[in-house]
């Protein structure tokens, strides 16, 4: 994979981040059909998919440096965004091993992992890190192993302990979330942390998803997509900082909506970890401004149809009532009613 990393970008303040043409074409668009409803849309996480974002075990893109920098800023403000309960130390090392091995394999020009028995050397070239440490000995790293490695990977992560025939969220690195709090949800069972999601409980979605995940096998990771809307390409839309980003929602006008309103997609991956038998949940977020999204003709048309016909409770849960109609009005002129191909591939190779 040939990627050029942007050296500086911001996801707060002046929001300087932009998507290149290549980034728009590799965006993981979440709507395979014109109508959206919750489903257990889980599939095997194997290399390859509708866009290039599905190629690696853990996707790195042009925003890598800026996103890692934004995470570091958020952690200075609130260290509780990364917490792991004490009984999860094995899962911390599992995560470090999985992420280091995956990144070094998928991006050999960016990351290098060298092992001499338990003495490992980790080189992160974009961030200028060269660290030698003893695998299994936390005191040989500057941060606990889970925090150490997730500071260097895009996207949020949680680790789920598998016990009592359930999954418990017993750790996480959560700095770019869609309005949920790790400090509040830490330790919750599968149904508890999904508690606030409407409609899906009644559909039995979580019962089936949990039954499926409890049987998740080592070496056979799975993935799914989730989505919401965010005003400005801001990574940290946490409940903790709602007083900071909440006011943005009231600034949307028909004039600025194309630039300010972003579709936020989470490429979620679930991987069974070998030593701890825990499950690593990766929540890799992508942000795209509406004016960027509409450059793919199919995405503009389908996005219009999905929002126009969305279930009212989902509109409410995803925080859209204030500006949903404005988005529909902006997208409507792009939609000529053409029958679209099923699936999420862009159906064009350049913009």
């Amino acid at each position: 994979m040939n990627i050029t990393l942007k050296p500086t970008e911001t996801f707060r303040g002046d929001f300087s981040t932009r998507n290149s043409d290549a980034a728009i074409l590799r965006f993981p668009f979440p709507f395979p059909e014109d109508v959206y409803m919750y489903a257990v849309n889980i599939e095997p996480h194997v290399p390859g998919g509708p866009t290039e974002a599905f190629t690696a075990a853990f996707d790195i893109d042009e925003h890598y440096i800026g996103e890692c920098h934004d995470r570091a800023l958020t952690l200075i403000d609130d260290p509780a965004r990364c917490q792991v309960l004490p009984h999860m130390m094995e899962a911390e090392w599992d995560t470090l091993e999985l992420l280091m091995e995956s990144l070094a394999k998928d991006y050999p020009t960016l990351f290098t992992l060298t092992k001499d028995g338990d003495i490992w050397r980790w080189q992160n070239h974009p961030l200028g890190i060269d660290q030698t440490f003893s695998f299994g000995q936390p005191e040989t790293l500057p941060y606990p192993p889970f925090e150490y490695i997730t500071r260097q990977v895009q996207g949020d992560f949680t680790i789920q302990d598998h016990r009592d025939n359930n999954l418990y969220m017993d750790g996480g690195m959560v700095t770019s979330q869609a309005d949920w709090s790790l400090n509040f949800d830490l330790g919750m069972s599968f149904h508890e942390w999904h508690g606030p999601v409407p409609v899906a409980h009644e559909l039995g979605v979580f019962d089936r998803a949990l039954a499926y995940l409890l049987r998740l096998q080592y070496g056979k990771p799975v993935r799914r997509l989730n989505w919401t809307l965010t005003v400005n390409p801001r990574l940290d839309t946490s409940p903790e900082n709602y007083p900071l980003w909440g006011p943005d929602k009231a600034t949307i006008t028909p004039e600025n909506i194309r630039e300010k309103m972003c579709l936020r997609v989470e490429l979620q991956t679930l991987t069974r970890l070998p030593r701890s038998n825990a499950i690593l949940f990766g929540i890799r977020g992508y942000l795209i401004r509406l004016e960027e999204l509409v450059r793919v003709k199919k995405y503009a048309k389908r996005m219009h149809r999905v929002l126009r016909d969305l279930h009212p409770e989902i509109v409410e849960y995803k925080g859209m009532p204030r500006y949903r109609q404005m988005i529909i009005d902006y997208l409507a002129p792009f939609d000529d009613g053409e029958i679209l191909s099923s699936g999420t591939q862009p159906d064009q190779t350049s913009l």
Binding site: H87, M88, R163, R215, Q217, R275, N277
Partner: protein, 307 residues
């Protein structure tokens, strides 16, 4: 993935310790304490797939297993005893784990009998490294004491019992505090007695962890009709239902092959299943609407599955 037999060591006339090494890759996936792998074992006209607990720790250079030759072996363990040699290549699965250490436990009470010691051999280095509070009591026949003794570290909290009667189960269980989890592995009779005793003194279900691979011993032959695949198959006496499906070129869901993981569950449309699994609840067994194909068979001459 492919594994090469690196070493075979006889622990007794019927128990062998086998070391496997990666063939192509540099290392195996890390195996957790309590994990098992499946070995594909060649046999006359067919392949046996048997589950064995990893007895090695989380090391990735090699996997170690211990194999007892089963008296009425269907083929797998007999082949490993009679024909396996260092250098041979075997197909194995990656590790899966249905018997992990309960990390929320503050103390671990491990009770095993016979070959049931194997998962605990992978627990010991982990528990010792974590300085976890634990007790291990292993029961075996008097004449096998010297087979198992060298496998167990010398420590005051590890006890070898030369017969099941020398372990005072009730006293041991009653003395445990509220923070203790119980793990049981061994022959079915041992597990039944131990778990019944624990429940009698109020031990909660969520703190009793059990593992047993012993269901797939064959039985009377029967016919299985597959509604969706429109096929009719004969399941032989020494063959499992799952193996019959696989031998017919189908790819039914499956994982542990020991009736424990629940992956191979298929809906039953007709006939009465003969359940041998550890997965379905008592109510689900009685309803007879589904079957674990890896270990369960039929009480009726014919079984109809929605597959």
């Amino acid at each position: 993935m492919k594994a090469r037999i690196q070493n075979i060591r006889s622990l007794s006339a019927t128990i062998k310790h086998i070391t496997l090494a990666p063939d192509a890759e540099d290392s195996f996936p890390a195996g957790a304490a309590g994990a098992f792998i499946l070995l594909e074992i060649p046999g006359p006209g067919r392949v046996w797939k048997n589950a064995y607990s990893l007895v090695s720790g989380a090391g990735r250079r090699q996997y170690e297993i211990i194999v007892r030759r089963v008296a009425q072996s269907r083929g797998g363990s007999a082949w490993l005893h009679d024909h396996a040699e260092p250098g041979q290549l075997l197909e194995i699965s990656g590790p899966a784990n249905l018997f992990p250490i309960a990390r929320a436990a503050q103390k671990h009470l491990l009770l095993s009998a016979g070959i049931g010691i194997t998962p605990f051999l992978s627990y010991l280095p982990v528990l010792q490294r974590q300085n976890a509070a634990f007790e291990l009591h292993h029961c075996c026949k008097l004449d096998e004491q010297e087979v198992f003794r060298p496998l167990l570290p010398k420590a005051p909290n590890i006890t070898l019992h030369g017969s099941r009667n020398s372990l005072d189960l009730m006293t041991l269980l009653s003395a445990q505090k509220l923070n203790t989890h119980l793990y049981v592995c061994g022959p079915e009779a041992f597990m039944d007695v131990t778990i019944a005793a624990a429940k009698r003194i109020g031990w909660p279900d969520a703190k009793i962890h059990e593992e047993s691979f012993g269901g797939a011993t064959g039985g009377a032959s029967f016919i299985v009709k597959l509604a969706r695949s429109a096929m009719e198959l004969h399941v032989a006496e020494d063959q499992t239902l799952l193996e019959a499906l696989e031998d017919a070129g189908l790819a039914p869901p499956r994982m542990c092959r020991g009736g424990a993981c629940g992956v191979c569950e298929l809906p039953v449309l007709g006939g009465l299943p003969d359940h041998h699994d550890h997965y379905l609840s008592a109510a689900a067994r009685a309803a007879g609407k589904s079957i674990m194909t890896c270990v369960s068979r039929a009480k009726t001459p014919e079984l109809v599955l929605d597959f």
